[in-house]
Amino acid sequence: MPFSLHFSPTPLITAPSPLSKPFFLVPYYHTLHAPKSPLCSSTEHALTHQGKQEAFDRRPEDSQTLPLGLRRDAMPSHVAVIMDGNRRWARLRDLPVRSGYEAGVESLRKIVEICCKWGIKVEVEFLMSLFERGMQEDTGIFFRENIRISVIGDLTKLPKALQELMVNLEEATKNNTRFQLIVAVSYSGHYDVVQACQRLALKAKCGLIEPSDINVSLMEQELETNCTEFPHPDLLIRTSGEFRISNFMLWQLAYTELFFAQSLWPDFGEAEFLKALLAFQQRQRRYGV
């Protein structure tokens, strides 16, 4: 199951990040036998760096178990999450904003661990200095866990060192096959469509296509989500009770099931994630027909 990681389009180096923090990563989905298991107990949010690897190591070798009620045949292939509420979480505790983001990172790692436990292979990283540190810290895990990293969005807004790190990581992990993490940095749905349009216009200018050739398929080839086999999220989860998309993937969310969770992202744990997945499995998807 892919996840979506999104960083706000505004510069993140010097300013606190704005509200919207979806996350986006794309695993290759493997069909595994998953005997039903009792509902998992409540989550722990504070995973240390060491704890991260331990969490992965705790996975059962031969089979993944699903909580009661979740059907393996109806799991979403691609889940996007807007990880909203980190700053509010910190403010409510009289903590600095950075603590909110750190708690957000841990929450994300916990969700990733849950997804691995349930046969959904995900991993996410987050935010500027935390992002850079996180990407560096987790590099070992990407290789050990056979995770491919892709980056989408306007990278020119990142510091040069981070841009280089991302490009190198993409290159080094491009043959990893277990799952794909796509990190969306300074990404917006509008930006994605505009850059796809610019690419198509350039192709038309070079005589490679006629403007009248432009169709849905050509558009999708130029959207930044062309780096994955599953560009359209089946499920989008947004935390902190905000009922909006906030300029996240717009084209790609055409038929995505939306789930709005009340809790702030650092508090979003296994129970709520299970609720979202169960709700998704109840939905009757008609794809517009």
Partner: protein, 250 residues
């Protein structure tokens, strides 16, 4: 406006009755909107994907649309009472000729109305709208380039992959695409209401919904009333003030 067919089944009505009652619900909602000073209303009447339904159902929806277009053009209709300009947004070439002509007549007849705008999305999907806008933007640039090339002031050859980011940025901008949207005559919505409890956009106003409040009441469309309308507005106002405060704080 989701839930018309489920309403028909739920109330054990004749086929098509749900849509007819749904039309009355629409008229009521429009009245509330105009009385409360809402200037732009957009409704999703028929998706391009709906053409995949059974031919009988598609035909009956087209017949209903034709009937209702004629109705709204009458003297005492809501459109004339509130000075509403009607726009049909979508790939109208996909419609049968009678419906397309009726739509064009309605747009012409109400073109001078200026108190409010009603956009009726018909033969519409957002991805089709975006793709069409991208196509038009490229065609516009293509014409510009052809003109420049023929005057000898062309840009010259650019090898694929070797172009500068600047050059790409100058080719087409966000505003170029936006002006070619079917929905260009209306600003982005503040609220999107989707009835029947389904929480998804279903390819409706994807581009325009970037920062919009999404409200998904569980009532089926024909059951919608003033209560849901008021709830949507109150929630929007609460969120609007909160977001405004957030923006000022940061």
């Amino acid at each position: 406006m989701d839930g018309n067919r489920r309403f028909t089944k739920k109330c054990k009505l004749m086929e098509g009755a749900g849509h007819k009652i749904g039309f009355s619900a629409l008229m009521s909602m429009l009245k509330y909107c105009y009385e409360f000073g809402v200037r732009y209303v957009t409704v999703y009447a028929f998706s391009i994907e709906n053409f995949k339904r059974s031919p009988e159902e598609v035909q009956s929806l087209m017949d209903l649309m034709l009937e209702k277009i004629e109705e709204i053009l009458k003297e005492q209709s809501i459109v004339n009472r509130y000075g509403v300009r009607v726009i049909f947004s979508g790939n109208l070439k996909l419609l049968s000729e009678p419906v397309r002509l009726a739509a064009e007549r309605a747009m012409l007849a109400t073109a001078k109305n200026s108190k409010a705008v009603l956009s009726i999305c018909v033969a519409y999907t957002s991805t089709n709208e975006i793709m069409h806008a991208v196509q038009e933007s490229c065609e516009e640039k293509w014409d510009e380039i052809t003109l420049l090339n023929s005057s000898g002031a062309g840009y010259g050859l650019i090898s694929l992959g070797g172009y500068e980011q600047d050059e790409m940025d100058h080719l087409i901008k966000l505003t170029d695409i936006e002006k070619h949207m079917y929905m260009a005559a209306a600003p982005d919505p503040d609220i999107i209401i989707r009835t029947s409890g389904e929480t998804r956009l279903s390819n409706f106003l994807l581009w325009q919904s970037a920062n919009c409040y999404l409200y998904s009441p569980s009532v089926l469309w024909p059951e919608i009333g003033f209560r849901q309308f008021l709830w949507a507005i109150l929630n929007f106002q609460q969120i609007h003030f909160y977001l405004d405060k957030q923006r000022k704080q940061s």
